[in-house]
Symmetry: D2
């Protein structure tokens, strides 16, 4: 371990707790998330040589939301191989994550697997191959982080379902183009469930570890081949941070994926995986404290992937 990560995390935590994030707001369309205290902050870093460093509420579960899209993608890629890329493209969208405009102009083929349309299509591909699509992403995350108890938070799921009309519109639009294989309600249910998985920052840093470790997980088993790992990382860098991908690459410069529950996972391949969590979101839907923490981390160690 070349850096004193423990000291770095402590500095970051101190700085975050002294910063005013009152302009940033928790996601408001999921009532079940409203009760999370605003100022919670957790950061967990797992180095390629096996050390794990944590600070803050590292063992408190949060709603992983869109972070689940990375792991659903890996599941779909395992089942479908490169045929997956006939169903979903891999270009930045340049527009809001839940927009139907681009989807209509491009005849129902999503730009990438991390916008909602793409993630719904990935859930559809999973539903075609896995026995219990409502649970498969949760179970996969359980294996990756070494906690078979990972579950869908049912209150969050019910909120998602109730506020899910935009996602149903997206799914029906794909269906109308002949680009969805399973019934819309089955697909969106599986999608809402994967978004509603609850995990801790520690579990998340562990689950994402294979992306920093050439495809090998915390249990030394291969999740995907090294080449495929690089490709997932490339996708996170170009498409993982909603409408803020360019700014995040510019100011932080590592592959990362955020969720509106306030979590962000990131990696420097060969170095570490990291999960940061704090519920208040900036205008683009990314954790405000999370982005600041990752910026500080990158500056402290003096390197990014660039």
């Amino acid at each position: 371990m070349t850096h004193n990560y423990a000291a770095i995390l402590q500095d970051i935590s101190d700085a975050i707790h002294q910063t005013d994030f009152t302009d940033a707001r928790k996601v408001d369309y999921i009532p079940a998330l409203a009760s999370v205290p605003d100022d919670h902050f957790a950061m967990v870093l797992r180095t390629a040589d096996g050390n794990e460093l944590a600070i803050g509420e590292a063992d408190l579960p949060f709603s992983i939301q869109s972070i689940s899209k990375v792991f659903a993608l890996v599941l779909a890629q395992r089942a479908h191989g490169d045929d997956l890329w006939k169903a979903v493209r891999r270009e930045p969208s340049g527009s809001a994550f839940n927009s139907l405009i681009q989807l209509e102009q491009e005849h129902g083929i999503p730009r990438n697997p991390f916008i909602n349309a793409g993630a719904i299509r990935v859930a559809d591909l999973i539903a075609s191959r896995y026995a219990n699509p409502d649970r498969s992403v949760a179970e996969f995350l359980g294996q990756l982080c070494g906690n078979p108890g990972i579950r869908v938070d049912n209150d969050v799921y019910l909120s998602e379902d109730q506020h899910g009309d935009r996602n149903r519109a997206i799914a029906y639009l794909m269906k109308s183009f002949g680009k969805l294989d399973n019934p819309v309600e089955d697909v969106v249910r599986a999608y809402f469930k994967q978004c509603s998985v609850a995990m801790t920052a520690r579990e998340m840093a562990r689950a994402a570890f294979f992306l920093a470790n050439k495809g090998v997980g915390i249990d030394d088993r291969t999740v995907i081949a090294p080449g495929e790992t690089s490709r997932i990382n490339a996708l996170m860098l170009t498409c993982g941070m909603y409408d803020g991908v360019g700014d995040f690459a510019f100011t932080v410069g590592i592959p990362a994926k955020s969720g509106v529950g306030g979590g962000i996972i990131g990696v420097i391949p060969g170095e570490f995986s990291v999960c940061v969590w704090s519920p208040r979101l900036d205008a683009r839907g990314n954790s405000a404290a999370g982005i600041k923490a990752l910026e500080m981390l990158i500056r402290a160690i003096g390197r990014s992937v660039f």
Copy 2:
């Protein structure tokens, strides 16, 4: 030098010459480029420890076109610092490089400095600060590659000027939003001139070297600070390959910038800069043989930035 780059380049060159690129076409709107033989291919790699390896027509000048945008950006950043980013954003555009739609919707502020609107705005910022904006990019490239004879190709410039109405429309649209400081004709002339610079693949690999070398050029002088170098690399990765950024990051995975003259520059920070040139373009305007050559290089050495 950990890899036998000479052997790798030879393998790549052999493979390229055995591949059928007849579906790919040279750019057709610049008559002055029509006379370049279709099957020319050059690749030059300059390692961080100072070795230079070349194959093919490495000393034949070609039209650098949009590759110039990287160097114009560096010039503008030197003069304006971070104020530059008030004038141009740094997000992938998600649409064609010469589109006016997004520019109108976003009130004349370009998405990033590598789409035409952004590059025209950068040329405008250069015109506000440099004495001879028509020559400043060419002179800067001459310094970087160690050849003060770098010049604008006047035939190419005249072609650009004659076919430049789309770019004039973009410039007038920005002007109408109050987002262009200098007269439209002055700005587009400087822009057409920078695109018309002629350089060899060898000169290009040298000029781009500082991006792989923490901001230090081939003459050991600092071009920009290491942190700013990372940021330019991030921009190339998220915005450098026209509508193919996502696919290129996915399949190759290095910061790169292409031009419709058939050149591509790329870097792996800390390892090498590379320039590949072959005039036939794929449907997105990137050199078809160039992309294949970079893919082979990345596969041969077993690493990208991801």
Copy 3:
């Protein structure tokens, strides 16, 4: 009766039967409509002074499809008055009748009641006020044309329902903006049913008569006030012919509404109502023979509303 309408209709019918419409195609997404013979043609004109002239298959029922939108609008206006226009605008859309792009950009408020989004919202408004929304448009049409036996064609309805995912996407998108009051499935069912009503050209000319007769129907009862009748006519002229409103106003120049079943109703206020039917459609979804017939009619009588 100032014109010899009988002779005019005969001339039109002769000309239509001598014209080659093989480039025009019947609607293909509703299998139940595939069995209608291609060369059927009917035209029925009902003058303000009470004469009725018919030619061709005037007593053969066809699927009224989007023509139903005019009558649904009248029903909704009766129940909601001018509050209706808080829910739906009345501007030409400038884009395809089933597009979601504009609907998303305008936050779920449809441009006008004749694009699908607007008609679905009108069906929603009807569902909020009428006891049997699945039947109310059919029953209203039965009253207007004097045939209480007007029914929904169930085969057509089932086809609509099966191919209705685009309309469901539209409805869910409005729902996600909080712009739909009733459950999506209830609304789209009522909408599909109103589109699936079967009527003859004679019945249609009678049902539309009040639009030519200051709001008074064939039974001398007032349907809506004269001022409201003018407004419905204005809407038909600016929004009634899919993407061909401008061309139709330019070349024919009367308020009209078409359906993909091949029917078109039209009026010259104070003069006559007309229904023409022929199943082959031009590229914009309007009956090819129907438009030609109306053009000939307008030329023969030497007047339009302009």
Copy 4:
């Protein structure tokens, strides 16, 4: 004369002067128009049987702006016949009058002759056939209204020219698609000049008279054939009132064309032409008092074209 138009105009004028239009604003991008008093109001009506009724500042010149587009269209149609409609379409645009988005998507072919792109293309067609394109619209208007002294207001023209970058962007975009025949600067100069013509409401009602009189002008000479007159009227109804065409057809219901100088011309074919002028504009760029006056007129006489 079936109506007491003099009394009607007096009632309208009284009502207008008692209405608060302080929310409506004069156009602000043409400084030369800023000195016009806010509360000026004029209305001139010329009946088919030759009577002329005027109220208010009927003999004070104002800037005709986009009203000129109707007359330029007639000139172009005279020179090019129906070939004109290969260059310009005739569909409502559904978007802002000066937008480039639709123009780019539709490859440089304007939606209709009354949006700026279409009017610029019409000016281009005029420039190809008339000897003095900078003056031809003004001279034509002089003939039509019987005042050969009609001129371009040079101060307004200079303002237009200075604030004309958006129109230059539109012209260059068409040029880049090969859809403009003459040099951009020549075309926009002619276009700015036609918009800068100054006329009184009385002159305007006279100039527009042929549109209400089957193509025959105030001097009993035929301007265009009756059929072509109907077509111009149809275009005004579907495209003449910027983004408010649908609302205007719905609430007023006559062919009309507005300009940002506060003028509106309208006709009921066979009945009268009318010009109303008042400089304050509503949010869509139409004269606020002008629209209210036309609504009152239509209500008072109990008829529109619908």
